[in-house]
């Protein structure tokens, strides 16, 4: 019998006793030992904890108990998710060595589902970036071509799944930080509806935009992971107080009769190879019984502008907590104000400082209405334009990233060039809608291309039906 290659297959094999969680954990730890020196997907490998968790799963099976839907499945966590007693750095010097005194809700849910958490993955510092080059601990490399970036900010999580270091991974997506690296690394990546997954224990970047989601090698595994980690959490007051339908249960429904929207006024900037794959995706869905409809989302093009005021404004407030008092780095000074400023200057990297400065400026007296207030109005327009589009189409299809993985240093020292990587992902975060990147063949240099499927609030079931169809078309 061939070894299972999906999380669902692994969990079934572990539960049936045809293999053990310990074996799977060792295989992944071995791969990490062999190749992560080159890739640098991980900030911290949790070898001891993974072995202990795997042993507990095997013991449960031996005792005749069900360890849960992710029995023995290895999962890597972006290093901005709190793990009790395990370093959680956000790839920042300001949190280097910090060990949280509690677990994020998603960590508790993973343990309860029998998953084996295998390590903490690298990211752009505080999730601010699109290439993982902004990590204080050095960049992650793309497993498909190590001279290129894996995307970001969840580059370590995407690379971990692409390199076979873990069966699945979790990332966070504030403006595209799951979908863009998923596209560049050739894996599935999902940003659910805002409030679908608890943010309790996710280190806050921009609280009205942040959302946790999975990286997987299949659409079914992504559905399985969301079925495990989704749901209301009383510890996150923005979590949606509703039961979510099982996503695994809707994958076989096909796309017959669905309306797939083409955004005719989509901002330009995508490379021809990426657009070519997008066309093939439309054709595949039509062949499977869907209809393509033209829609307009005029405010889409203002997404980047609104985002780069709203996200930094929220970040400047959220990151005020790193003051050298309660955790992390402290640089001594004669008084507290001096200590705060010296600590923050030494602990934050350039991009984080830039965004704190931009956000502080946008919120400061005399500028609030002109910048932040206006950006919130633009956000409303984007949301409303999407809502109108979803009256005509069940899902929208766009590129996930304007290009395939780019070489290190390609965006130079120009922050705006890097921000353009998220042109097609950012508007979804502003609207609060779900979106996912599905690997859909290759483009320039034989590198992976991702097609992005977008849907309205809590329309994950429809989004997953379309994603599953795209996956079938590639099989």
């Amino acid at each position: 019998m061939a070894a299972p290659t999906t999380a669902r297959g692994i969990a079934a094999a572990v539960k049936a006793g045809t293999t053990t969680a310990a074996d799977f954990a060792e295989q992944h730890l071995l791969r990490i030992a062999e190749r992560d020196g080159e890739i640098h997907a991980f900030n911290h490998v949790m070898a001891d904890q993974a072995r202990a968790a795997a042993a507990a799963v095997d013991a449960a099976v031996a005792a005749g108990n069900d360890p849960g839907p992710l029995a023995g499945v290895t999962v890597a966590l972006k290093d901005n998710m709190c793990t009790r007693g395990i370093p959680t750095t956000c790839s920042s010097k300001i949190l280097e060595g910090w060990r949280p005194p509690y677990d994020a809700t998603i960590v508790e849910k993973l343990h309860a589902a029998g998953a084996v958490v295998i390590g903490k993955t690298n990211l752009d510092e505080f999730a601010m970036g699109s290439s993982t080059e902004n990590s204080a601990f050095g960049p992650t490399k793309n497993p498909h071509d190590t001279s290129r970036v894996p995307g970001g900010s969840s580059g370590g999580s995407a690379a971990s799944v692409a390199a076979g270091f873990s069966q699945m991974a979790l990332g966070s997506d504030t403006g595209g930080s799951i979908r863009q690296p998923a596209a560049l690394c050739g894996v599935v990546g999902v940003k659910p509806t805002y409030g679908y997954v608890s943010r309790f224990g996710l280190v806050a970047f921009a609280s009205s935009l942040d959302q946790i989601g999975p990286f997987t090698t299949s659409v079914e595994d992504a559905a399985l992971m969301l079925d495990v980690i989704g749901g209301h959490d009383p510890l996150d007051s923005t979590s949606i107080p509703k039961e979510h339908p099982s996503l695994v249960g809707c994958l076989d429904q096909g796309v017959e009769g669905l309306r797939v929207g083409r955004i005719t006024d989509l901002p330009e900037g995508a490379d021809p190879d990426v657009l070519e794959r997008l066309e093939v995706a439309f054709e595949a869905l039509v062949a499977a019984g869907a209809t393509v409809v033209d829609v307009q989302v005029p405010a889409f093009t203002f997404g980047l502008t609104a985002y780069y005021l709203i996200a930094p404004a929220e970040a400047s407030s959220n990151l005020a907590r790193y003051d050298g008092v309660r955790y992390g780095l402290r640089v001594d000074a004669p008084d507290t104000n001096g200590m705060y400023a010296a600590t923050r200057e030494a602990g934050f990297g350039d991009e984080v400082k830039r965004r704190i400065m931009l956000g502080t400026y946008a919120l400061s007296a005399g500028y609030y209405d002109a910048y932040y207030g206006k950006a919130l109005k633009v956000r409303r327009l984007i949301h409303d334009d999407f809502e109108r589009a979803y009256q005509q189409a069940d899902v929208l299809l766009t590129p996930a990233s304007p290009s395939v993985a780019f070489p290190f240093g390609a965006k130079g020292d120009n922050p705006l060039a890097m921000y353009l990587c998220d042109t097609y992902t950012i508007p979804t975060n502003l609207a609060g809608h779900p979106g996912m990147s599905v690997p859909f063949g290759t483009g320039a240099h034989g590198l992976p291309v991702g097609v992005q499927v977008l849907a309205g609030t809590l329309q994950e079931p429809t989004m997953f039906r379309v994603a599953a169809e795209l996956e079938r078309a590639m099989a």
């Binding site: 805002y194 409030g195 203002f302 001594d332 000074a333 008084d335 104000n337 001096g338 502080t360 609030t457």
Partner: protein, 100 residues
């Protein structure tokens, strides 16, 4: 929309943000932040007069949960991660500033 950002503005914002920036950083950030703010002039083309600002993507109001006693964080575990702690508390330098 406003006058171009100056080095003096950047110095003031850095002080508000509690960042002890260097002169070189002020120079670099002034150029970069001015560039980003200019980009924002894009939205001047939009009529935003009657648009309601959007602060939350999924509107929920008055979110309460049952007032149930649950374990808090372990004090020793928390203080063990502090840069400096003493007698069960965080220790900091004098709060009454030298700079007034």
């Amino acid at each position: 929309m406003s006058d171009r950002l100056t080095a003096a503005d950047v110095t003031k914002v850095a002080r508000l943000a509690r960042l002890d920036v260097t002169a070189e950083e002020v120079e670099r950030m002034t150029a970069q932040l001015a560039g980003m703010l200019e980009h924002f002039a894009d939205v001047d083309a939009l009529d935003l007069a009657d648009v309601e600002p959007m602060t939350q993507p999924y509107p929920l109001v008055n979110v309460f949960r049952e007032d149930v006693v649950r374990p808090g964080l372990d004090r020793e575990e928390v203080l063990a991660e502090a840069p400096l702690a003493e007698d069960g508390r965080f220790r900091v330098p004098p709060v009454i500033g030298l700079e007034g």
